[in-house]
């Protein structure tokens, strides 16, 4: 890494640390469902049906249908962990590690978890 990019990096890091409110403000354009559906965000529908949400149309079938989640995951933290990094449970999984690879921010991950938790 050269000096400029190190500087840019540390500036970026500093900005997110100093100004978390601003960073969060910019992101909360979508709710949990919106994030789960959005192709550039969760895109969960690419792989999962969500049968209890009538708006979840033309889903893929790579992963299992997301239904009866509360009984599958009595512990919300375990559900969040599955979404944060599915490879921890199954290194061969097709599911992207949304938290670990920063596909979703931590705040977005919470919103998606809450939405899925209710399904």
């Amino acid at each position: 890494m050269n000096a400029t990019s190190t500087l840019t990096m540390s500036l970026l890091v500093a900005m997110t640390i100093i100004n978390p409110v601003m960073a969060a403000d910019a992101e909360v354009a979508l709710d949990g469902r919106g994030l789960a559906f959005d192709k550039n965000k969760g895109n969960c529908l690419a792989c999962h049906a969500i049968p209890n949400d009538p708006k979840a149309v033309s889903p893929g079938d790579i992963g299992p249908a997301l239904i009866g989640i509360k009984s599958r995951y009595p512990d919300r933290a375990k559900l969040r962990a599955q979404i944060w990094d599915a490879t921890a449970n199954n290194p061969k999984t097709s599911m992207p590690p949304f938290g670990r690879n920063k596909i979703l921010t931590e705040a977005e991950l919470d919103l998606v978890t809450d939405y899925i938790y209710g399904m």
Partner: protein, 275 residues
């Protein structure tokens, strides 16, 4: 005595080399068996249709389109470029065995002299260079249109990629490694979609099997947009947020070599229509 020793040595070398070169064929058989399990009702020769082979209705529509392909004019243009003499009077046909008939099925091949994979597109550019003509950009529209005709001269020939030297095997292994390696933010490998999840849907797109993918290029996507095989690599990588490689990069050429080997025994067909 010395003779006997030498012949034993030769025998040993032959044995080890046969052992080494068995790997690609074992890989190919294992992969074909994997797809046979997922698709017990799809015939091997139909793998060239990719996702269409999994969906009779879509295949019917495809057959209708192929009766009067919207890209017919482009292929004729490709034919004109292929036939038009260079400034020195030579033609593309002069650069290929059998005037270019039934040769595309053995591309890419590994050239031990230059230690590189030679794609059909490389051979086109080598020909242009040899005849003091301007080379074409890889994965360009121009290259796709010329090869839509030039490769069609090999229609129905069976893909026949050979791996006969340590260099060829190394290139194959590199291509294979690239294919199975997870990349980018989404952590997908090519195999995530086209091996592990072949036949499954991502939203409404059914995922094609990799065997058969390399035998029918270029494609005309949406009927009129010409795309080379390596152009398609770039599209899949962009869609999955992976940093694309340059067309004709060693990575893509090795990948094409590996993938085309995996299509060995399937009939060539150029070009085809895809969504």
């Amino acid at each position: 005595m010395k003779h006997k020793f030498l012949s034993i040595l030769a025998g040993l070398l032959l044995f080890t080399s046969l052992g080494v070169y068995a790997v690609p064929e074992e890989d190919r058989t294992a992969l074909v068996n994997h797809y046979k399990q997922i698709f017990p009702n799809i015939k091997f020769e139909d793998y060239v249709y990719g996702a269409l082979a999994m969906n009779p209705e879509a295949k019917e529509q495809y057959d209708d389109v192929m009766d009067f392909p919207p890209y017919a004019y482009d292929v004729r243009q490709g034919g004109v470029i292929w036939e038009t003499p260079f400034k020195n009077g030579e033609r593309f046909a002069s650069c290929f065995k059998y005037e270019g008939n039934n040769v595309a099925a053995s591309f890419p091949y590994f050239d031990d002299k230059t230690n590189r994979v030679v794609t059909f597109e490389n051979a086109i550019n080598d020909c242009l260079k040899l005849n003091n003509e301007k080379e074409m950009k890889y994965a360009s529209q121009e290259m796709a249109i010329l090869t839509s005709y030039a490769r069609s001269l090999s229609d129905k020939a069976k893909v026949n990629i050979k791996i006969k030297s340590p260099g060829a095997l190394a290139a194959y292994e590199k291509g294979k490694q690239y294919y199975y390696q997870r990349q980018g933010q989404l952590n997908f490998s090519c195999a995530t979609c086209h091996v592990d999840n072949a036949g499954k849907f991502t939203r409404s797109e059914q995922l094609s099997m990799m065997v058969g993918q390399a035998s029918h290029w270029p494609e005309f996507r949406a009927g009129t947009e010409p795309v080379t095989l390596q152009g398609r690599f770039m599209q899949c990588q962009k869609n999955t947020r992976v940093n694309v490689k340059e067309p004709n990069s060693p990575e893509y050429n090795n990948l094409e070599f590996f993938m085309t080997y995996m299509s060995n025994g399937l009939k060539m067909q150029t070009p085809v229509f895809r969504k």
